[in-house]
Symmetry: C2
Subunit: 308 residues, 2 copies
């Protein structure tokens, strides 16, 4: 009867040049007992170890684009899964070329993976649903960067009514609890209603959602797709004073990330993909919080959950 | 008049699966003002930063073979050199396929390196000299592993006589000191000998040398090529109790590394490429030191120099 976990762990949020001990973009998302990796920067496998997250439990990996700081940890991670004896299928989503990169590495290292790696090349022009399991659906978010790039929107599905623990009769069977969670009334063998569903349950909590947008220039038109998400991670490579440089390199500023969060009325904003020029990140946080209140720095090791 | 540095810094010595915070094989060797990288495992660029070694000062990189734990940090490092504005040539030595891996990464990330990357594909069948600069020559060491693999032997060249500081006249010109270092006598304009070279100099110190052997099965026949090197780094993936597994996977044991060091009469032995099965590495050190006394664990962050 415990609520399902929905936990985002930041494993790295440095932009192209790692600096001050910060690592490249990698995130781990757990929903229920499913585990997803979002981007896979260099040393992702070391960072997973460091923060006690098990590579073998990862069900699917989502790669936004083929700049090295977002995927150069992938081949090492796939190899370690192989060496650790993985047999279970792994789903991998990313740009078409990613398949060629992996194939070349496996060829030169004379390796045949012992587990099925299901590679799903991404078409990133429009928003499409690319993944679905028991807990979530994942849709792409069109982004604009120097190479084809896509964001990812994770949304919980199949939210069950919550049981009113105080009112539950003591001797309900597991079968009866299942019926309640499906929204059904409890009836006796003759079909008479024993308890109406709404007597014993509360409406389901809101479906939780997480959106990952990196790397991209500021795209205010994405506010519609990001409408009311619980957590938005948005790249904030620069401060506003470097806005020209941001648009020139197809990156965004902390201020722009906050503008988008405000426009989309998201609940919580995480800033990341920090330029190596910023040792102290608090000015980026200050800049964004002037525009949008509920904002955090996505620093590695931190765990974020949707607010209750 | 200071002696030239000859410093080996270990940046990683974990075998295939990184464990206990240990990183993949990467080493930094400084001789004089030249800097070399030997293998380039994942997170090599992070490790360089961590141990305050500057990527832009690296002159040449030597890759032993195309197993991921020995080269998956290379593309990230090359990219960072590019982003940091490198213009200076970089020499890269490694198996032929390495060129294709780099080309593919650069293509997908839409990157044209701003500096000349001179790739020298290696033929690994016999010992050949592959590199030479002001300070060292580098020769290959034939190794035997699951994929083509080569070791590297760095040897100092052009060792100058050492000046006897106590006996030097006070007013020697830079030109005169140069002559002494070239082994010449000092003469006056008329050609008369002022000082004989051997009055003011001592014989040059011994040319220092470093041999890197990873990954490989035990090859006692390499003792000849490794004869009397100052420092031998040899892979010691397993303990002797796993000798069968070592030979099956074409790796070596700590005991075998020590046998080779003894046979080759090297001065100092470094053990590395530790299996993830060993959390505590002291048993490997104990095993080797029963056979060869001057032996050390090559743990990351440690700096080794030839004994005086």
């Amino acid at each position: 009867l415990i609520d399902l976990p929905f936990e985002l762990t930041i494993l790295g949020s440095s932009s192209a040049i790692p600096a001050y001990g910060r690592h490249h973009s990698t995130q781990h998302l757990r929903v229920g007992n499913k585990n997803y990796l979002i981007d896979c920067g260099e040393a992702a496998q070391n960072q997973l170890q460091r923060f006690k997250l098990k590579p073998q439990r990862i069900d699917a990996i989502f790669i936004s684009h083929l700049h090295g700081d977002h995927y150069l940890g992938l081949v090492g991670l796939l190899s370690s899964m192989h060496l650790l004896g993985r047999k279970r299928k792994l789903d991998l989503f990313g740009p078409l070329g990613l398949g060629n990169v992996i194939t070349l590495h496996l060829k030169y290292s004379d390796t045949v993976l012992r587990y099925p790696l299901d590679f799903h090349p991404l078409d990133v022009e429009t928003q499409v649903q690319i993944y679905e399991d028991k807990y979530v659906t994942v849709k792409t978010i069109p982004l604009k960067h120097r190479v084809p790039c896509t964001g990812f929107l994770f949304r919980e599905k199949q939210i069950e009514p919550r049981l009113r623990k105080q009112r539950l009769p003591a001797n309900l069977s597991i079968e009866q609890i299942r019926k309640l969670k499906k929204g059904e009334d409890l009836v006796n063998p003759q079909g008479d209603i024993l308890y109406k569903n709404r007597e014993l349950t509360m409406p389901p909590r809101k479906s939780r959602s997480y959106a990952y947008c990196s790397d991209t220039v500021y795209l205010p038109e994405n506010a519609r797709l990001l409408k009311s998400v619980d957590i938005l991670y948005h790249e904030a490579t620069f401060m506003t004073e470097k806005e020209l440089r941001a648009s020139h390199t197809l990156h965004a500023t902390a201020g722009q990330a906050a503008e988008l969060a405000k426009k989309a009325k998201v609940n919580k904003l995480l800033l990341g993909h920090f330029s190596a020029r910023y040792k102290d990140l608090s000015p980026l946080l200050r800049e964004a919080s002037g525009i949008f209140k509920n904002v955090y720095l996505a620093e590695e090791g931190q765990v974020f959950m949707p607010d209750e």
